[in-house]
């Protein structure tokens, strides 16, 4: 259900940018701390796009692993689980430096792939 809301927001934003022109591809950047499941996004997107004037527009998702930086010892760690703890010094004073991304990076207008993919 979460992904459905998110896809609705994506479709609104895409339509704002594309206007009446056909959209071939929508590219997202989603961090692992966002609790958005790519497969679920793709499924919900197919529903939202079909009924929202964006039928055929494919969704491409770039995932960004979560990464923290310890404020105590400075170590940077890529996380497998959302536990905000420095593995070196066990400090909880960590800064999230990646993994909360949640935006549309680009769209490809038209009926076919962008020039760089031909």
């Amino acid at each position: 259900m979460h992904e459905l809301s998110v896809c609705t927001a994506i479709a609104d934003a895409v339509r704002t940018h594309a206007g009446d022109r056909p959209v071939y591809e929508v590219r997202l950047c989603i961090g692992h701390l966002r609790q958005l499941v790519p497969d679920s996004l793709t499924f919900c997107w197919s529903l939202v796009a079909d009924h929202g004037g964006l039928a055929g527009a494919r969704l491409v998702i770039d995932e960004v692993p979560a990464e923290i930086e310890c404020e105590a010892c400075g170590r940077r760690t890529v996380l497998d689980h959302p536990v905000l703890l420095c593995p070196d010094c066990s400090s909880r004073l960590v800064r999230i430096i990646a993994g909360e991304e949640c935006h549309i990076t680009s769209i490809v207008l038209g009926d076919g792939p962008g020039t760089e993919e031909r």
Binding site: Q35, D62, L84, A98, S106, T115
Partner: protein
């Protein structure tokens, strides 16, 4: 990794435009959380105010769009539109001098019961408004009747079974039904759900959540976005502890793993034990300057909540 692919795509198209990077302003420059990031991807939130609209700068020289498969860089936060309306809500709240708490929880954790006890204690002295999110019914709003608070119900049902959260536009629609200028505090009782409400800012000053001890110790790890987003975690139903095997130390350890800074307030809305501490915190919100959250939701892609202290740097 995938980011490399992303950059190659962008370079291939954006550079072809007449207006190469005027809408790419600010990335990697001057934003507190990405100044030293090893790979400069656009993790900061694009500012819609400064962001020239793509449709503006496509006019005139891009007639090939209908067939061309042309990529345009968007860099728009998925929750950008919501955050813009949340900021508008916040501006209205500030202008009226009213503070706003976004109260979230799973279904049945006890938000409405806590609100009843809150109104019972604070309502005469503090002028409180409630925005009540409910998918189809007025049951919760009915339970809050008779306590002297202004209650605006927002049914989130839209024909598809209902939204799972309150977002900024829904809260905005409720504002005309609340006497903002006559209120000290608005509590937004969100739809019961541990996932979606965490992503949608409504213009609140602070976020709080109710966690019931019956939910088990592992919830912070299972719903880290929610637990990380809040300033206060109310631990409700403590009167049931004698009947449960729940390990509160483990719960707190799990909470601290995702949110080292949230205030933890154990209470029982049923017996009233501990509710005064919650009410004191609400009073602090109304009277004190501190504790204000950033306007944007965590959904903006801005690591401003949780482990990221908002007053950093």
């Amino acid at each position: 990794m995938t980011m490399g692919r992303f950059h190659r795509h962008d370079d291939g198209t954006v550079h072809d435009h007449d207006h190469p990077h005027d809408h790419d302003h600010g990335h990697g420059h001057g934003h507190e959380y990405d100044h030293d990031h090893p790979h400069p991807h656009p993790q900061d939130r694009p500012d819609p105010q400064e962001h020239p609209h793509p449709q503006d700068h496509e006019v005139g020289d891009h007639s090939g769009y209908q067939t061309g498969g042309e990529r345009i860089e968007v860099l728009e936060a998925i929750f950008g539109e919501n955050d813009r309306l949340a900021a508008a809500n916040r501006a209205d709240f500030d202008a009226a001098g009213v503070r706003v708490v976004n109260l979230m929880s799973s279904p049945g954790a006890g938000k409405t019961q806590l609100l009843r006890e809150t109104l019972r204690r604070l309502s005469p002295g503090l002028r409180i408004g409630i925005v009540e999110g409910d998918i189809e019914t007025s049951l919760d709003a009915d339970r809050l009747d008779g306590f002297g608070a202004a209650v605006a119900l927002v049914n989130t049902g839209n024909g598809f079974g209902g939204e799972c959260h309150l977002d900024a536009p829904m809260v905005r629609s409720a504002l005309p039904r609340l006497p903002l200028a006559d209120l000290d505090l608005i509590i937004v009782e969100n739809v019961g759900n541990l996932v979606c409400p965490a992503e949608f800012a409504v213009g609140e000053d602070v976020k709080a959540m109710v966690y019931a001890v019956t939910e088990g110790e592992d919830k912070p790890l299972k719903y880290p976005v929610m637990f990380r987003s809040v300033d206060v975690v109310v631990m409700n139903k403590t009167d049931l502890l004698p009947h449960l095997d729940v390990d509160l130390d483990l719960f707190e350890k799990n909470l601290r793993a995702v949110n080292p800074r949230a205030r933890l307030l154990p209470l029982s809305a049923r017996t009233g034990e501990g509710v005064d501490a919650w009410c004191s915190w609400l009073n602090e919100i109304v009277t004190g300057p501190g504790g204000r959250s950033p306007v944007a939701s965590t959904g903006a892609g801005v690591p401003a909540h949780g482990a990221e202290p908002s007053d950093r740097e």
